[in-house]
Symmetry: D2
Subunit: 420 residues, 4 copies
């Protein structure tokens, strides 16, 4: 049987195959299919990598055409037509309409690569090593990014102490009514606080791995002001929350801020292909030639699907509005789920933004039971949060209303099954 084979040849480091121990084969839109024909609604979407769903036909058509015509697939960071078209799409569909004057860097095609580049650039510009990160933040696991990632599971296995990150409390971390930026401002203004003057702050507008915690617009605006007042760059890590996930292309649009540096990856290709970019204010492009590199920077197939996705979904605001509408559906469903749990004596709370939402059920054990039951009933959904206590929806943004309804039903039944 295949399970045994996988267990024999694959490293123990594997994770998702533990939660979803089956063999997936096909996928379309918001659905996954296994080798024995079972179908699942996908509320995970590649951990936010498949915002436009699996194998979206418009993107697929463009990708297969590109491949069929022997267009160049791998070109390091040379200039190609694919790159030209991609840059044009970014400029026309993303930057210009939002009044953003950014330059584009294509680092290695993963989020952590983009974060390493962003952090390094900030340090270079400011001549300082420290980066403010926030509790429960996740920015990747290569060593540079890991210094800004809060999760002990990764940090404790770094093998060396992580240098150059200082953690501050995220919005809401200290409970209702406490503006956690007071603490940041206090230690920034105190030359004996032990806070080495930071080059930058890096933050997620919604913390994906951290448990769908949302930074409010006023908090983000104040953070931007603090950064500016203290000669620090503001880096928005939009790897999981970007590409429309929150109901806007960039999650920071809700707050009306213009970050100094933005990182994108995950859904940037629109098709699950590895891809990442760093956007930086024009005057911050202080890189010298080749000071950061990587073999797969500027992956052509990803640029093809990425450009096509921008054209298809982001030429007007209809997609945004759809995401916002569906976000409300999930929100409502999750609020009902939380209420249902509270009725059963469990202090559960819904939180999130757009289609990035979760129900905090208070314990990882319970969350695992719920998602385990849901998987048996045909829903792929994961947990997040520091204790894995949040049942989290990262469904494709193109999901259909009835799929949402079905998923919510499954979750309701799962809750009823595991909590009596």
């Amino acid at each position: 049987m295949q399970t045994e084979y996988f267990e024999q040849i694959e490293s123990n480091v594997r994770t998702y195959s533990r939660s979803f121990p089956t063999l997936f084969t096909k996928a379309r839109g918001a659905e996954l299919e296994t080798s024995d024909g079972k179908r699942y609604i996908d509320f995970l979407a590649g951990a936010g990598t498949l915002n436009y769903g699996h194998n979206h036909p418009v993107l697929k058509e463009a990708l297969i055409r590109y491949l069929s015509e022997d267009n160049i697939v791998h070109a390091l960071d040379m200039w190609t037509e694919a790159k030209f078209d991609y840059y044009k799409a970014v400029e026309e569909k993303l930057l210009k309409p939002r009044g953003l004057d950014y330059k584009i860097q294509l680092p290695g095609p993963t989020g952590t690569n983009a974060v390493e580049a962003a952090i390094r650039l900030a340090r270079k510009i400011k001549g300082r090593h420290n980066i403010v990160a926030f509790t429960n933040g996740f920015h990747g696991v290569t060593l540079g990014a890991l210094a800004t990632t809060g999760n002990a599971k990764f940090r404790d296995n770094a093998g060396v102490p992580l240098v150059g990150g200082t953690f501050m409390p995220y919005d809401g971390y200290l409970g209702e009514g406490i503006d956690t930026l007071d603490y940041l401002e206090k230690v920034l203004g105190d030359s004996s606080s032990g806070l080495d003057h930071p080059a930058a702050a890096i933050v997620e507008v919604v913390q994906g791995e951290g448990g769908t915690n949302v930074a409010s617009a006023p908090w983000l605006r104040r953070l931007a002001e603090i950064c500016q007042a203290n000669d620090m760059l503001l880096i928005i890590d939009d790897i999981q929350a970007g590409c429309g996930r929150t109901g806007k292309f960039f999650s920071f649009e809700h707050a009306g801020i213009k970050p100094d540096i933005v990182t994108n990856s995950k859904s940037l290709s629109g098709y699950g292909l590895p891809f990442a970019q760093v956007l930086m204010r024009r005057e911050l492009d202080q890189w010298g030639p080749g000071q950061y590199n990587g073999t797969f920077r500027g992956h052509s197939p990803a640029m093809i699907t990425g450009a096509k996705a921008l054209e298809h979904f982001w030429s007007d605001d209809s997609f945004e509005l759809e995401v916002q509408r569906k976000g409300e559906l999930v929100k409502q469903g999750f609020q009902e789920l939380a209420a249902r749990l509270r009725d059963k004596g469990i202090d559960a709370r819904e939180r999130g933004l757009g289609l990035m939402r979760g129900v905090d059920v208070g314990s990882g054990e319970l969350a695992d039971k719920i998602t385990g039951a849901a998987f048996e009933k045909g829903l792929v959904i994961e947990t997040s949060g520091h204790a894995g206590q949040v049942v989290k929806c990262l469904c494709p943004l193109v999901i259909e209303d009835q799929q949402i309804a079905r998923a919510l039903d499954i979750l309701k039944d799962s809750v009823d099954q595991v909590v009596r």
Copy 2:
């Protein structure tokens, strides 16, 4: 014009578009084509990513079929048929025939990700932080890997001191007749040498970025013995030299050693798709679930082409023999080129292994002139080495003899043009 557009929107960090300032569109086998129809022989091959050439028809067919059928493209590290088939191919075509009992980890799909994972695993296993690296080695630029990369251009832009790497002289570094491992053994055996007892050594069998420097088989065998005698793991970074580049699938096969950990990437997908793996001796798989992660680990399209490439090229030894034969052609041509330069009063030397070869022309300025002239004549070829002093061949392994001949002619003409 497009050049201006690129310069206006793309970060200054770009490199290859400076050496090859044209717009590439199509590519087949060992040839690249620009938007205005000019064709180039490709002696760069994506810096060693396209060992099987651009858009190999067998791989292309498998890839397009996979995509057409709505098979799953992105599945995090869940189990898929694509993964099953890939693991089977690795086992049947690579591991079993070579007597290697490795487990497989698929980290983020870039070389630096694989190196970070390998280093971290070694530290975890041995409970020590130090990793021995070698002069002129290149293992990636994320912060963990960068500690083992020698290049100052990257190191000086790290923003923090790099922790956990100690550099030792590579084979040949101190000139003829000096076994550089004497130095390593000396400092390992001296508890006051300042060398913190290493968890591992990481080394390339042929240094790609370092200037096609080759570690001899006896040197590698002695290194393996030193590692074993000193309770250190031996990590072979086979990212550039692997996948057949040297005339064997794994470059370390020439030396008859069995490393503890191996990293692969670049040509692993066979098609230029981002992909990477870490192979480790079974008993070294001491990872806990999820202790290293990444969104794009186990990229399905890359597993499809990767498996197909293993089946197509590595089911018997015919491909190996072809690579070795062509390697001799390039070797001969490069030796003649070196002799030609020496005739002109320039102390040039050929070196390399298989189809990973270079001519050290003594200065980066001269090497740039030669490759610049070659580009004008229709050859894409880059330089490497600490001063960029090595004109370096990384042509596709599937290159045709007449393409090699044509490239060698171009290089000869280029030398004659720039050195009179």
Copy 3:
């Protein structure tokens, strides 16, 4: 003139000679005398090094006798009669009466050496690198200690990022009514907070350099509980606040806690001689022979005066009571000073413990003016605090009441002179 000579030959790093630009020659008790016969009351006392005053006759007599008889002055860490007598005095006068079962380590004879030893021991015992330190803490400037010192003046000149310290808010740091340990407990209990599990916390009961901030007894007791609950050692840095400064020999006696590790220096010799010790719970003495060393560890003259000081001042509670009584005098005087300033529209506050007290006048500029005026009137007194905003009393504990009265008068006049 001598000033010019000093400026010509002495490094710019000098500090106190900038605040007190005169040539001191003699000193007795709480008074300093210059070469031109001017006398000053000493409210600085060697930054807390001269708790028993300058040249105390009892200690002087013992020291001169020791030297006259050719007793051994320097013996590395060999056993000597001086050491035997010193250990006996520590045991009899300090440990036994307070129910403390500590072993003694004599590191290099400075506070920073003791802190380095304490931190290193904690890391060794717990196998973890992180140490919790507190805002405005000062623990020395050698690189290991500096990681726990908050002051940017030193941190920014370290030349490398400081590794292994995480700063938490000290008692009172966030204002009235906020128990800052809530924050420590929150991040300790959250595995994604970014706080690497600490080996220890290091804290001053009264922050000397930080501005005579006092940690309350309940806060310290809760800190001790948090450390125990989280498998962390509690290190009390009693270098400035110890040796009777606060009205008890150890400053932590007020809180009734028994730290795991204690560091002493400054007034430990009682005579201004370099000396330091680390006290550790018996079972924490996990040092191997020679794992921490230093040429001047166990300085014999300092052990002679140190033992004599313990016998003379600490054989009963009369000295403690005197310090507490005088502390009240200074407290009252400082409160009046603060009130006087408030009458002049300046928000000033008194704070401190025993004879370690200050008036926070809100700005470093004003504090400098006041201490500058005081110096002209015959009082040596310094400022502290993150902005130098605290006028700080560290007078000898043996000071006479009339000297206190005179000093308070000078301060009152100085305030009246500089604030109108």
Copy 4:
């Protein structure tokens, strides 16, 4: 009995009391005396701290007079008569006669403090973090200095990876006929060698802890040239080899070089009192006020004896000549000792400079046996070297010829006793 008491109350970290388990009481010149009246010749001299012998009468008289008159003992870094006189003595007796235009910094009173200051200043001046150190070098154990100390016993207990030091082979490290600076020059000249461009090199002219290894004059001159050519500062750590130990006040005088920065401690006070200084070329004094501090910087009693020692011993060259003459006696004796061992089949070699000499007997076990036997016969002498394989003479420079003769006899007898 006292031994038990010490073992019960003193930390296991103690070392010298393990080699010399007796209770010392008095000391004069080159002799130590125990509580039971046994006398030892001192070939250890406080590990080089007592170059002028124990309790030298001239220094003693000055010290006791200073103390008797209530002169100021502790003054932080304020200006005092003692400091003025000390600076004058340094200028007149050391700097001017040797044509050295240095400024003086008095850091905390231990060698490691001076090294931390020197390294930090170099980093600040050059804006680079890396410091080249040499195999078997010892520069102290606080965390900054430890990064340049080779000994694993200390390094492995640092608790964090040591940052900012790179080790290069010391003179002679690679055997006869190999100029180890070739390696340094090679990696400095290679931008991909992995050597981060250093701010400075720090080196001992004779390695004390490293086993009395001597850097030759040509090697030192070449090192100075390499530093200058590569914009690196040269720091001579003269803590153990300075103050006349090698037959010149500064050990680097033999080579005719003028280092950028010099560190002194150990015998600097001349009386075993804690004291240290950093000398730096005038233009390198780029410290800002208070950027490096410490409570005991500028310890007055040490300045008194230090100034007196300079006047008494260094006003003409007679003392130097005496040291050189006695050095020859010890050299001859040690050579005979080595020959005696070689006759017994042990490959022993003498090496050293002035009165800093050792016999390398090949194993730490044998060296311990010899020094153990010698102790029983009335000689205090220690071992050094990475394996403790060097029997090492650090006798007081004022030792009498007959004491040398007696010590050499004891060593000869000890060798005969333990090697038959």
